[in-house]
Symmetry: C2
Subunit: 290 residues, 2 copies
């Protein structure tokens, strides 16, 4: 994260503050982009903001650790919260407004009696959704609120959370939101480890191992592209390699990029997706099949 000295972005914590900040932009006909995040911003997030700038006059970055997308026993409580550093980071990439909603701005009637959304079952029931039941319902529940509150013309989502990206695109298509979703390629460290807030949970040794996840995905994608073996066999080989490196694997799956359906042999437009644990830390990543 660069440390250029720039003023922190404007901040809004309530709906009223958000609307009083954005109303003049809308009146002036300016194009508004939204980058929804859970904070603990790294270069991947800042790349989303930079991309957003290319599509809009004004960029809102929301920072909200959304409780409804965490399951029981997941890391909601210990999820890293680093707002001061986040604001400093946003200042370096030209973010106009940081929306740091009070819980009541998102869930004005609390969590248990809220109007909520349920993601499209064919997309939300597989892969991440199979291991984190209800996760994507929480995602669309908060994203719909952010869309309504911020009323962006475009919103930028990273391919790191590839399944989430598809589900948000479906949310937009199904509900008819008048906005465009811009996907952005995953930002990676030199070793190809995908940037993730959860990398902070890893110690030095685990971080060295974590690099193997993207390595195995990249290799598997290459083997799929070369039609080396049936997908099931390549998935199994990838799981075995990850296990040998010390991962506890939730899944490695070769799927269609458009709808996460199981691909036929020889089909194009595929992606390899995986989730695996190192100790108490769960990592996800995915790689396109060229």
């Amino acid at each position: 994260m660069s440390t250029e000295a720039t003023a922190n972005p404007l901040q809004a914590r309530t709906r009223a503050e958000l609307w009083s900040a954005t109303r003049p932009w809308r009146r002036a006909g300016e194009r508004i982009a939204l980058v929804p995040t859970m904070g603990n911003l790294h270069e991947g997030h800042l790349a989303l903001v930079t991309a957003a700038r290319r599509h809009a006059n004004r960029v809102i970055c929301s920072i909200f650790v959304n409780p409804t997308q965490f399951g029981a026993g997941e890391d909601f409580d210990r999820y890293p919260r680093t707002v001061a550093a986040d604001l400093a980071g946003l200042a370096t990439v030209g973010c106009d407004l940081a929306f740091l909603p009070d819980p009541a701005a998102i869930y004005p009637n609390g969590l248990t009696d809220a109007t909520r959304l349920v993601a499209a079952p064919s997309l939300a029931g597989v892969l991440e959704g199979a291991f984190r039941p209800g996760h994507f319902d929480g995602v669309v529940t908060v994203v719909a609120r952010l869309f309504n509150l911020c009323r962006p013309d475009v919103a930028v989502f990273g391919e790191k959370d590839y399944q989430q990206l598809l589900i948000v695109q479906r949310l937009v298509a199904d509900l008819g939101y008048p906005l465009e979703i811009i996907p952005l390629e995953t930002v990676r460290e030199a070793g190809a480890l995908a940037l993730s807030s959860r990398n902070r949970y890893l110690d030095e040794a685990a971080r060295r191992t974590a690099v193997r996840l993207s390595e195995v995905l990249r290799d598997t994608a290459a083997r799929v592209a070369a039609d080396e073996a049936p997908h099931g066999e390549l998935e199994r080989a990838a799981r075995d390699r990850l296990a040998q490196h010390g991962f506890r694997v939730d899944y490695v799956a070769v799927r269609r990029s458009t709808d996460l359906g199981v691909a036929q042999p020889g089909e194009r437009g595929l992606r390899v997706l995986a989730a695996a644990w190192l100790g108490e830390t769960r990592l996800i990543d995915n790689w396109p099949v060229a």
Copy 2:
């Protein structure tokens, strides 16, 4: 319904048609009102459009018999569809645009794999919701789509469907839709029968009996206002009277107007709500406690 000779309103059937009709209004800064209906318009609906005109420069009336709010065995198939008469009626009250969506404009990915909404449980689990499980989830699922597609500044809903009105107000509050919900008092025939598309299912004899529903509700509301007896006792008496008239009663309930909670003795701001069957026809109505 008056038969003044006026041109039918503009019609849109697809999202593209809707947007091309409304874009110039939005660009010109005009205020847009939405009146969502299932068609088979009667004077009650036309009163909603007339009220909408008072709050906006442009009025959209949507006509869509929404399958997801009908339960198995309910009257989706036989629900009256009278589009030609509906358009003629709308022409008499100054409706600018009739949105008659193709199913794909509302459910572009079909019914079973759609992103959907779930209404706030405390409001949706009682009364109508207890007798029609999932009904209000279907209502918020379609209303959210109509809000996103039409992007109204105001939307008008009748008090006839009182529980629906509260649930839509909660949808707007919870999800942060930038629009105002205008409630409109129920329009009634001379005999005080609430206008309803389902009245068309009634034969002449049943229609004479149907009048008793509002009569009993009005009387019960007066007895609640006078603190004549505990609510439970007044509810029981109302059910008995309706049964004597030939109704099969689903419920008669004295509830708080704001949240449909069970009222304490002596509490103000109440409403009496009921649902009851005459033969195969289910009628609902409600009356405020003065």
